[in-house]
């Protein structure tokens, strides 16, 4: 039942006058019977997939068996899961809704039951599929009309541009909005980069600690270490956090020793055994001489 390929643009009108390659992204929307290839990427969302499945029933959309359709969809999702295809949330939400619909269709509605009946839900689904298909057909008909610049042409050597506007200037709303959006965006992104420089990365912190290590013989407070880097108050928090995280790593490597006498007390550090032996860590210590 997954046999046919779905090529909506080729179903009708394929023998009509020079058909354009309608879509740029003429993706292969193949589903094979073997179930080994389930190409979810070929579908534009669950409704598109459902429409495809409905088309394989080869009947008028208003007479499809919604129940059969639901089962096909659920089977498809199940198969996709078995072969571990990552499904977008939409497909799973649709599956859940269809499973609910199925239960509604199978179990007779209780008199005091709230909400729409299974039949109403099925009708809704059929309507949406029909509407989507109608829009697909309309799109095909639209794009195959005679088009300006392809089938018919404007004056090649215009002699003037008529204008009713009192204004001597031309600009469209799109011009205006895109100018505004790109301007604001440009500045927003510049600001982001500035903020980024205010954040100390772990690598930065490590590099600074490396450079400072030579200067320290005995226990020194971490704050003291970083004093010269903390002229900017806004940097204080990030510098402390990153530096502390970096020290932990360096302690693990034996390059530092760390001591804190009590909660919220200053953190002290001094060179570790490794560093005293002059050993350099491999890996991240590559850019420590700037």
């Amino acid at each position: 039942m997954y046999g046919t390929r779905f090529n909506p643009q080729k179903t009708d009108a394929s023998d009509a006058a020079p058909m354009e390659e309608l879509w740029q992204d003429n993706r292969d929307r193949a589903l094979h019977e073997e179930g080994l290839v389930v190409d979810i990427a070929g579908f534009e969302g669950p409704l598109d997939l459902l429409l495809h499945l409905a088309r394989t029933q080869k009947v008028d959309l208003s007479r499809i068996s919604v129940l059969a359709l639901v089962e096909q969809y659920l089977a498809f999702i199940e198969r996709a899961r078995q072969i571990r295809i990552e499904l977008a949330a939409d497909y799973l939400v649709m599956a859940a809704w269809l499973a609910y619909l199925k239960s509604r269709l199978l179990i007779p509605q209780q008199p005091k039951d709230e909400g729409p009946s299974g039949e109403e839900m099925a009708a809704t689904l059929a309507f949406r599929l029909k509407r989507l298909e109608a829009m697909r057909d309309a799109a095909t008909r639209l794009v195959n009309r005679n088009r300006l610049g392809r089938d018919f042409f404007a004056r090649g050597a215009p002699e003037h541009i008529p204008t009713e506007r009192r204004s001597a200037f031309d600009a469209s709303l799109y011009d205006l909005l895109s100018a505004y959006a790109s301007l604001r965006q440009r500045h927003a992104i510049t600001q982001v980069t500035i903020e980024k420089r205010n954040v100390w990365s772990l690598a930065d912190a490590r590099e600074i600690l490396h450079r400072l290590m030579g200067e320290v013989e005995d226990w020194t407070a971490l704050d003291h270490f970083l004093l010269r880097y903390l002229t900017e108050p806004s940097e204080r928090r990030t510098a402390m956090a990153s530096a502390f995280a970096a020290t932990l790593e360096m302690v693990r490597e034996g390059q530092l020793e760390l001591r804190q006498d009590g909660v919220f007390q200053p953190i002290f550090l001094r060179r570790g055994a490794q560093a005293q032996r002059g050993g350099q860590p491999d890996g991240q210590g590559d850019d420590d001489h700037v």
Binding site: L47, D48, L148, G156
Partner: protein, 239 residues
């Protein structure tokens, strides 16, 4: 009599037109012709009217001119309330434009364009509801940039979402006189597929965020396509 077979025989006197000096009418036709012919883009009818001799009915003149050019290699066509000369489509085999290719649309963009054309004014959430999928960034952008789609106004519902519609350039590009000429429009309307109303109150959920604006909710006047019946009477747009 010309062998070229001029179009004179298709022109008929327009009924109900004011009786105007024929020379004045001829002059008016020449002016209208020159104005439209000289322009690459469609020329507003009002613009032509302003330049015709006083007392001449622009609609009458344009209809006559249209008939005059009907069988020729260049036709006078109506684009909304604008007029343009365009080569006859059946001659496309011989006329080729030097200017590049006609813009190619992605499948998604074309679908969105059709939905906007048939359902306008339509919000992004409604487009997504019809397609059952989120509109990816750039799809609307392409259509706006092509000048086929425009921001129309805002819907008078909570959140006042912006509505989209098509432009004059859209009509021009696809050779449509007006929106009524969209292929299959009547049938689609007849089948209830454009009403935006789903038979029951149930809706398949879209898991990801839809357009939600929390700006103020001043009433706005909605541009009316009501006349075309593209808007649900009573304006139950929220499905």
């Amino acid at each position: 009599m010309s062998e070229i077979d001029g179009p004179q025989d298709v022109v008929q006197a327009d009924e109900g037109a004011a009786v105007v000096d024929p020379r004045r009418l001829h002059e008016a036709a020449r002016i209208a012709e020159a104005l439209v012919f000289a322009s690459a883009g469609p020329v507003p009818e009002a613009y032509i009217a302003d330049r015709l001799p006083a007392g001449v009915d622009v609609g009458h003149v344009m209809r006559q001119l249209k008939a005059l050019y009907a069988g020729r290699g260049v036709n006078l066509v109506q684009v909304g309330d604008h007029w343009a000369f365009r080569t006859a489509p059946d001659l496309s085999f011989v006329v080729r434009s030097d200017e590049g290719e006609v813009r190619k649309l992605s499948r998604a963009a074309l679908e969105v364009l059709s939905i906007i054309a048939y359902h306008q004014p339509v919000t992004r959430a409604e487009i997504e509801d019809i397609r059952g999928v989120q509109t990816s960034k750039g799809t609307l952008d392409v259509l706006l940039e092509a000048g086929w789609v425009r921001f129309r106004g805002r819907r008078r519902t909570p959140g006042r979402p912006v509505t989209f519609g098509t432009t004059k350039d859209f009509l021009d590009h696809f050779g449509l006189e007006e929106l009524r000429d969209l292929p299959g429009l009547e049938e689609l309307k007849g089948a209830g597929l454009l009403s935006g109303r789903i038979p029951s109150n149930f809706q398949i959920p879209l898991p990801l965020g839809e357009d939600e604006l929390s700006e103020d909710e001043d009433p706005i006047t909605q541009m009316d396509l009501e006349e075309l019946g593209l808007l649900t009477p009573g304006g139950k747009e929220d499905e």
